[in-house]
Structures are given as C-alpha cells and as structure tokens.
C-alpha cells in the first residue's frame, strides 16, 4: 500500500490532474469560469423544461434541487467512466515510452471528475439556500454515498480503460449503456411515477439509482424513496453494495492483469 502513495506517485498524479485542468479550457475566453458556468446553464435549462413546462414532481418538496442533485451525481459517474475509458489509449505515448504506474493515469482522470463534482456541489449548495431547504443530520451520510459512487466509477473505469486497449468497440458500447442507464435511473422522473412496486425495487438494485435516491434523502427531502424505505430489513437491501464491491475488485483485478501488456497492445 505504501508504495502506491509514494512521493513520486503523488507528484505524478497532481501534475497529471493539473495538466488535464489546464488543457480543458485551453483557448477559451472565460477559461476556468466555464467549469461553474456549464452546470449552472444546464440546471437552468432543466429547471425551465421540467419544473415550469412539464410540471413533473410537483408533489415532491424542493423538486428543483432534488432534480439537480440527481443530474450532478449522474454526470459525475458518466463523466468519470467515459473519460477514464479512453485515458490509457489516449496516453499511449507515455505508456510505450516511460515506466510509470499505469493506474495513475486512470486515477488522475477520476480525480479530474471529482474536482468537477466538487464545483457542481458548490452550485447545488447555492440552490439549497435559494430553495430554503432545511438540512438535517442525515447530511452526514452524503460523503459515504459519494464514496460509493466513486468506488463504483473507479471499478468500471479500471475495467473499461483496460478493455478499450484490446477492444475499441468498448467506447460505443459504453455510450449506449450510459444512455440506457440514464433513463433506467430515476434522474429526470421521480421514482414514485413508476406505479409497479416490483419495478421500483428492481430499479433500485442498480447502485447508481440507490445512491442517487439515498443522496436525495440525506440532503433534500426525507420523502425520497430509498432502498431502505422500500425493502425495509430484507437482505435484498445489500445487493447494490455487494455489486459495488464486486465491480471494484473485478476492475482492479482485470486492470492488474492487463496492464503488463498495455505497452505492446496499444
């Protein structure tokens, strides 16, 4: 473990993240301001469409914040996985010519996504104040929920980036899966809109759906449907967490096995 957080690796990680950030808004007039402006503008559009025009979720308190939180968490997950997916191949020049721990590359793109999440959460905080949401102690759960999403994303990122070296189809497949996942997860619609309770339960077995609902519960409204409220003390409640652990370990294992041959396969 100690070797993973060695001085060299930390220096490399921070430099890779820094470079990523510097290059992201290269040549744009507003520069870093875009990392706050982008989510703000996106929220504005969603707010107008869903709250003002479609009038979905009228019975959920603070629905705008509820909606935004879902979007932010999903975007974090999808940005992290799809950017990590191409990270190993994208840094092929490094991998073929220098000995650096391969995982630092995937890790650095996941940290870039984390930084973006942090900025987005700042925007959410502003909306929490505007909407006069009353915070409760359940907010203490939020870091754990974020950690769960991060662990899931990291496991998938490790798997996808290693598989992408061998199979370039992965990027298209993952794009489709993300698209399907976006609609199968109660992000734009409240879970209560699905009237069949079995479907509700099945949807919540997806760790991302479970995490988003839990985050809404902890931050916005205790009326959000969560795995706990739906399944109570049943052991099914553990399924999403077991999935996360399995995906993380599977991703780590596959990445370790494949990373030896990255240099010759890219």
């Amino acid at each position: 473990m100690k070797q993973y957080i060695s001085k060299q690796n930390r220096a490399l990680l921070s430099e890779l993240v820094r470079t990523d950030f510097k290059l992201r808004y290269q040549g744009s007039v507003l520069g870093y301001a875009w990392s706050l402006l982008r989510p703000l503008l996106l929220f504005l559009i969603l707010y107008i469409v869903f709250v003002k025009f479609l009038r979905i979720g009228g019975d959920i308190p603070h629905f705008p914040v509820y909606l935004l939180l879902g979007i932010v968490l999903w975007n974090f997950f999808s940005e992290m996985t799809s950017q990590s997916l191409g990270s190993i191949v994208g840094r092929g020049d490094l991998i073929r010519k220098i000995r650096i721990p391969r995982w630092t590359i995937v890790f650095s793109s996941s940290i870039s996504a984390l930084i973006n999440l942090g900025l987005n959460l700042l925007v959410i905080a502003v909306f929490l104040v505007i909407n006069k949401v009353e915070l409760s102690f359940s907010i203490l759960w939020l870091p754990l929920i974020l950690l769960e999403i991060y662990a899931l994303g990291l496991g998938l990122s490790l798997f996808l980036s290693a598989a992408f070296v061998k199979y370039r189809d992965m990027s298209y497949i993952w794009e489709v899966i993300l698209q399907a996942g976006f609609y199968l997860t109660p992000i734009l619609y409240p879970l209560a809109m699905i009237t069949n309770e079995t479907f509700q339960k099945i949807l919540l077995m997806n760790p991302i759906a479970q995490a988003i609902q839990d985050a809404r519960y902890s931050l916005v409204s205790h009326e959000s449907i969560t795995v706990h409220s739906l399944l109570g003390g049943s052991w099914y409640i553990l399924i999403p967490f077991i999935l996360v652990v399995m995906i993380l370990l599977g991703g780590l294992f596959y990445f370790r096995k494949e990373s030896k041959y990255f240099a010759e396969n890219i």
Binding site: R10, D93, I98, R99, Y167, D169, Y261
Partner: protein, 386 residues
Amino acid sequence: MADELAIKVKDVSKTFKLPYEKNTSIKHAFISFYRRNKGYERQEVLNKVSFEVKKGDFFGIVGRNGSGKSTLLKLLAGIYSPDAGEIQINGKLTPFIELGVGFNPELSGRENVFLNGALLGFNRKEMEAMYDEIVEFAELERFMDQKLKNYSSGMQVRLAFSIAIQAKTDILVLDEVLAVGDEAFQQKCVDVFEEYKSSKQTVILVTHDMSSVKKYCNKAILINEGSIIASGQPADIAAKYSKLNYSDPADPVTSSELVNVRLQNGSGKESKKFNQNESMTVEVSIKKSNKKIKNIGIAIIKNSGEYVNGANTIQNKISINQGDTLKYTVKLDIGAGKYHISYGLFGDDGNKIIDFVEKGPEFIVSVNPDSNQEGIAMLNHEWTKL
C-alpha cells in the same frame, strides 16, 4: 545478486504476436474465434539474451535497426515484461527510453519542465530546485513562458535533454541522444558524457555511432536478430558491427518452390562474392512438379534498382523439361556494388507467369583494381589517335 553488479539479465526472451489484421473490435474477435484461425504471426524479437553490467560500467549496446535493441531497452526500463528469463536491477534505472516523453505542445516550456519532471519521479519542490540549472543548460531562458508548439525542434530536444540529465538515477539509459542540437550544444553533451565516465556513473548507451562507443564505453555487446552475437571490448564490437553492416544482405531473400537457384564462380564453386570482369554462373534446377514450365527468365538487378541485364530461354531457343538443370553464365562487366537475381517461370506460350521471384540470391561485385574504366557498365572500348 553480488553488490558490484548493476544489471543482470538472464535468458530473457520476448515474442510479439503480430496480427495480420488487428483484432481491435469484438466482431473481429468473434470471427477469428469461430474460424479457429488465430491470424497472427509470432515474431521472436529477443532469444535467450544474457549479460551483466557492473557498477561503474559505461556499457554499449549496438545493433542494426530491428535487431531487438529497443525491445531490450524497454524490458530493462520495465515498459515491457519478459516472456521468459529474469532481469535483476540493482538500483534505480532511468524510466524513459526517449527524450521529451509526455511533452505537451499546448503547455509552456516551464509547465512542461514540471510535467516531465513528475513523470521522472520528482515533485514540484525538487523540480523548482533544479529549474534554473535546466533552463540554463538548455539555453532557453527567454522562451520558457512560450508554448512548446512555438519551439523549434532543436529547442525541444535541448530542453528534453537538459531535464533528462538532471534526473540522475543510479543507472542511466541513453538511446541515440548524442546527435542533438547544434555543435555548441553537442559539445556540452560531450562534456556531460566525459563527466559520467570519470565519475564512474553506470551508463547504458545505445547507439549506431561507433566512434562514441569506442570513445566512452568500456564494454559493449552486439545484438543481431534477437541474440547477442558478440560481447567484449568496444573496439572489437565496433569492427564486428561494421562488418555486419556491409556483408549481410539486408532484406530477406525469397525463393521459388519450383526451382533451385544457385550462384557459382568460374571454377564451379558456390559463391556470393565476385570480382569485376569475372564470370558468374546461375545454376537453375527445375524440380519435378505438376506445373509445365516452358520458359525461364533471369535478370540481374542492382540493389539500387537498375535493371542491368536479362535473358530468357525462349529468346535463346532452349527447350526445357522437368528435372533439367540449366546454367546461365555471364561475364560481370559491371560496376562494383550489390546486386541480386530476379527470376520468373512461365508456362503455356511462354508468357503466363507461374512464379516470379523479385529478390532472389544476392551477390557482391568488387572493384577490379586493374580495370581501365569506371561506371555502372564495363564496355569494350578503344582509344584511337589520329
């Protein structure tokens, strides 16, 4: 491992699978799975390579392009992992095999120094301590805040070299870095090398430049086709390397399965080397097969591409049968150099190609010191005085 050893390489082999068509999509993987056709060629790049480098050695690795040098370096640097054998490294070895790895054209020179430093394992604080020295050595003080894409290629290499020599490790690996920059900068590099040599820094130098091998190295190995074919004194290695370059045909020679083609000298012995004005015989034996060969054509091609001479059996009114052995004898009144034979086998009316070998056996024609003329063709000539 004994303390005085820096590197010990034992029986290291590396084979690459080179796919005919790369299976980079799942569809391809499925297709080749069902066909049971693996569709790749195994290329053995290194075959049981063993050597040792002692601490303080200036160790040269020489070999022609494609001999396996770079693969060996990548194995040493830990970029590839060996299929078989063992590599032990005592101390820290330079992790890169090329200068300026990871340079980003969109970042400034300054930012690139820090990025490159991090790739070599230095944090910002350590890099800040070295920064001035790097910039001074590269002579780029005025340009550090400009984007790297606006640098000339010479400036980029200078910056990369300056960072690389600051990144001192126990064992330095230098690949073809001697020829960077203008003469003044090269002199600086030479000074650095001299310093390494006198301070007993362990260095592994990979190069084509035999003069620097002789000048700096105290030991060297010569690699050819994935094996070490010589090791020892740099002067011997340099001599063997030059010999390898000028005697061995570079391209693989191909042949036809329907005939045997051999080159003989005037006394009937098989040979590859001829003198100017000597006779050369091309012996063609036709093997028994179900192909009806009606016509055989032989051409002499200079390796630089010139078609020197050609003749076929129909032109010369020779009838041929299976099992025949034919001799085609020419006097080599041609310029010195490397040549090869092309030959074609034709059926039916003598025009339909059965087999054609573009690059048959090679041979070398050397200068006849008594020759009274120059050029690519030796022509009968006379001077007359009126």
